[in-house]
């Protein structure tokens, strides 16, 4: 993270930024005064940057408890006249949806930009929903940046457009854009002092039915007016060489199309769209009229394509339009240069050269993501496994949730049976404990619990459910890069913050069985589980131990380095540490169990797992 460059005042300076860093720069250049988020890949780095520079640059930033809250904080700040921004991963918009739709009616005073980071191909997500559909559903203008520099520009432009029309502006990123680096050319940072005052206007800000009817009509009129902006926008451009076919493409896919068409000298003119709702109808109509055949290339859903088809119908054009409906382009997964090339070659009936470099017969080992060496979740899963085996419970069900611990799905634990969305472990546990006789043990992380776990836990208590809930409290939002949450004692501005104690919160609901254990202490954890499983009702065990990566940092600073090794004289090759516990630092070489010293984190849990006390500290 090049914080100095991101906040630099050197105009014209060329810096090499991540798409997400460029969004942050755009916010700063555009005079943004308040930003909010709930972290989630692929959006997280925007917040990581803003959190670190907020004080120095002079704006407010927060990690909110969830996306709905984040949305409301930013939306209302816009009503007070401040340029505001909220951002999250695509599924975060589902959480914010309720206020999102209505905020399109209520509109904005200060510029309000919403960035949705979609995840085509699901690199880090449970689905690949295309949020352009949701933004259109809400009736908002949509911008789709192609590269980091445009990410920066579009945030600034978004503020202006939002202020001019009093409407939130939606920027749609994707993983590839958020996580690509490219050259960004810095522009001046705006330092206009804006009026910060909430001027009451209940007819506009309180959509009781009588007001809402007016507001909806206004919204429809605004978006109609904004068509003229899209029509003249530089974000929509045509590359024309008088070729036989046309391609209409948008956002990140434009890059693949342009590169491939140039490299293989293919006969396409290209209309690249960056301002995609409302689409520039006149420009597109003219483009359609110039060709007999047009292909629409956009990742995921046929959002632009459908509009183009409607335009064709309305204008009685003869142009043939190819896209998803013709199975030329898929609605699945991320596009890339290969896919675009294959599709275009197929369309042209051209043979593609195969020159792929291959090694037959030797394959790399499977290397799925795993819980880190020393991860406290592994210890918790192991404890659950041991107790269930002792009590001869074979068919327990494990509702899981969103976080590093979802990796409990893998061998050897197989302890993630369901996962819908943030907080769903608890709602699912309610359902399963009512609908089956099986034991239900649910897992949720601290941050996820604060985000969406509290209402379902109240539901569980109120509706007299029977299950054990593990709140895996590692004192951070680990998977997304260790952002703080209400349980950790500091906030998004880097300031000391009050701590919400999970055990007090749970007890406050009225739940009687609440135990806090240290998962590194296996016997303590196992005893708590055994006690819990003997009782009826909702039981909560809080497994509290800092994330191993945070512990690493802390120990390194303290100058403590602990490593374990296998004492060969004591090891009897039972392989329990390998097969049942599976810390990634432990491996077998020439039939002997070993610990990789570089990877070992010194948590010592394996030494509790070993029945022969063969795992010892390196002195």
């Amino acid at each position: 993270m090049k914080l100095k460059e991101i906040i630099s005042n050197e105009i014209q300076k060329r810096v090499f930024l991540l798409g997400n860093e460029a969004f942050a720069r755009g916010f700063i250049e555009g005079g943004g005064k308040l930003a909010t988020t709930y972290p989630g890949t692929p959006s997280s780095e925007i917040g990581n940057v803003l959190s670190k520079v907020a004080k120095e640059v002079g704006f407010y930033f927060e990690f909110s408890t969830n996306e709905k809250t984040a949305f409301e904080v930013a939306a209302s700040s816009s009503l007070s006249g401040l340029r505001s921004m909220t951002f999250f991963k695509h599924v975060g918009l589902n959480v914010a949806m309720d206020s999102f739709i209505t905020s399109a009616y209520i509109g904005t005073i200060g510029g309000f930009v919403i960035i949705s980071c979609d995840d085509p191909n699901m690199f880090s997500s449970q689905n690949e929903q295309d949020n352009r559909i949701l933004a259109k559903f809400a009736g908002l203008p949509i911008l789709e940046p192609r590269n980091p520099d445009e990410a920066r520009k579009m945030v600034k432009y978004g503020f202006l457009l939002s202020e001019k029309y009093g409407i939130p502006v939606f920027i749609r990123s994707t993983t590839r854009l958020s996580h690509m680096r490219g050259i960004v050319q810095l522009e001046e940072i705006e330092r206009v002092k804006r009026n910060q005052y909430f001027n009451k206007n209940p007819n506009r800000f309180v959509p009781i039915p009588a007001n809402a009817r007016v507001l909806h009509k206004n919204l429809v009129e605004k978006i109609k007016e904004i068509e003229s902006e899209s029509e003249i926008s530089d974000f929509n451009f045509i590359i024309k060489n008088g070729r036989s076919y046309g391609i209409i493409t948008s956002g990140i896919s434009s890059n693949y199309v342009i590169d491939i068409v140039i490299k293989y000298n293919l006969p396409f003119d290209i209309f690249s769209i960056g301002f995609s709702n409302p689409i520039p109808k006149d420009k597109i109509k003219n483009f359609l009229e110039s060709y007999e055949n047009i292909i629409v290339v956009e990742e995921l859903e046929p959002v632009i394509e459908n509009e183009v088809r409607v335009l064709k119908e309305k204008n009685n054009l003869k142009t043939n339009i190819f896209g998803k409906d013709d199975n030329i382009f898929s609605t699945l997964y991320e596009y890339n240069p290969d896919r675009v090339k294959n599709y275009l070659f197929k369309f042209l009936g051209k043979e593609k050269e195969r020159k792929i470099f291959k090694i037959e017969n030797i394959t790399p080992p499977l290397r799925p993501p795993v819980l880190c060496p020393g991860c406290p979740h592994r210890a918790t899963y192991y404890a659950v496994f041991k107790v269930l085996r002792k009590l001869k419970i074979k068919d327990a069900i494990f509702p899981s949730d969103i976080g590093c611990y979802t990796l409990g799905i893998g061998k050897p634990f197989d302890m993630a049976d369901t996962c819908y969305s943030m907080g769903s472990s608890i709602g699912v546990a309610c359902g399963l404990s009512k609908s089956t006789q099986q034991k239900v043990i649910a897992f949720i992380g601290d941050s996820t619990f604060f985000h969406a776990g509290i209402p379902p836990l109240i539901n569980a208590f109120y509706n007299k459910n029977d299950f054990l809930l593990f709140i895996l409290d590692n004192g951070t939002t680990a998977m997304t890069g260790h952002q703080p949450n209400p349980g950790v004692g500091f906030d998004g501005m880097g300031e000391v913050a009050p701590i919400v104690k999970i055990e007090d919160l749970v007890k406050g609901i009225g739940i009687k069985f609440v135990k806090v254990v240290d998962p590194y202490n296996l016997s303590e954890t196992m005893n708590a589980i055994e006690d819990a499983l003997k009782q009826e009702g909702v039981k909560v065990i809080i497994a509290r131990r800092e994330c191993a990566l945070i512990r690493d940092d802390r120990l390194r600073k303290e100058g403590v380095i602990i490593k374990y090794f296998i004492n060969e004289d004591k090891c009897r090759n039972c392989l329990i540490c390998v097969r049942q516990f599976s810390c990634p630092a432990i491996y077998i070489e020439n039939d002997k169990v070993k610990i990789n010293e570089v990877l070992c984190d010194g948590c010592g849990v394996c030494s509790e797992v070993c029945p022969f006390n063969a795992i010892e500290v390196i002195k």
Partner: protein, 199 residues
Amino acid sequence: MNEFNILIVGVGGQGVLKLAEMICEVSLLENKNALMSEIHGMAQRGGSVFSEVRIGDVLSPIFEDGEGDLMISLEPSEVLRYIHKLKRNSFILINDSEIIPFTVSLGISSYPKKEEIYKSLKDLTDKLYIINGTKLLEEKSIAYTLNSFMFGVFSYLNPLNFSLDNFYKVLEDNFKGKNLELNKISFEFGREKIKEFKI
């Protein structure tokens, strides 16, 4: 279209992204356009990680299969996973130190014999360089500077004829104080050692 495509691969936690970023930064100092793509989030947890780097007048941060000019693999078996991205006779630099995944210990997959990997690579390129940076650095207790070591190896092979000064500038931009010193040592060590390790 002039383009040079690089693939950096390894295992989560090895510093793949930092190395890719440093190579891009040298290109920028050389006034060449650079693009890079990264993987974050779930895949980073000890899984296989890769980053694509493109230098030249292109727009897409990722390149087609069979178009890679150079690969740096921080782990021997990871070469296999991405070999389809390379051109014939491209540069392949390997850090010869295995990280055995737990799937191998559990018996659900197996780790190929290194000699066999290298043998088949030799049939595909004569620009194969194999060096155990991890081990060499461990002797100096600076194994965590592996990416600067490989940065040094890259600067020695220097397929794009970048000036050595710019490599140093990038090190200076990326590290401070004592850390800079150690990373420079590692960088120079990589430059020096690679001379002995061409296969």
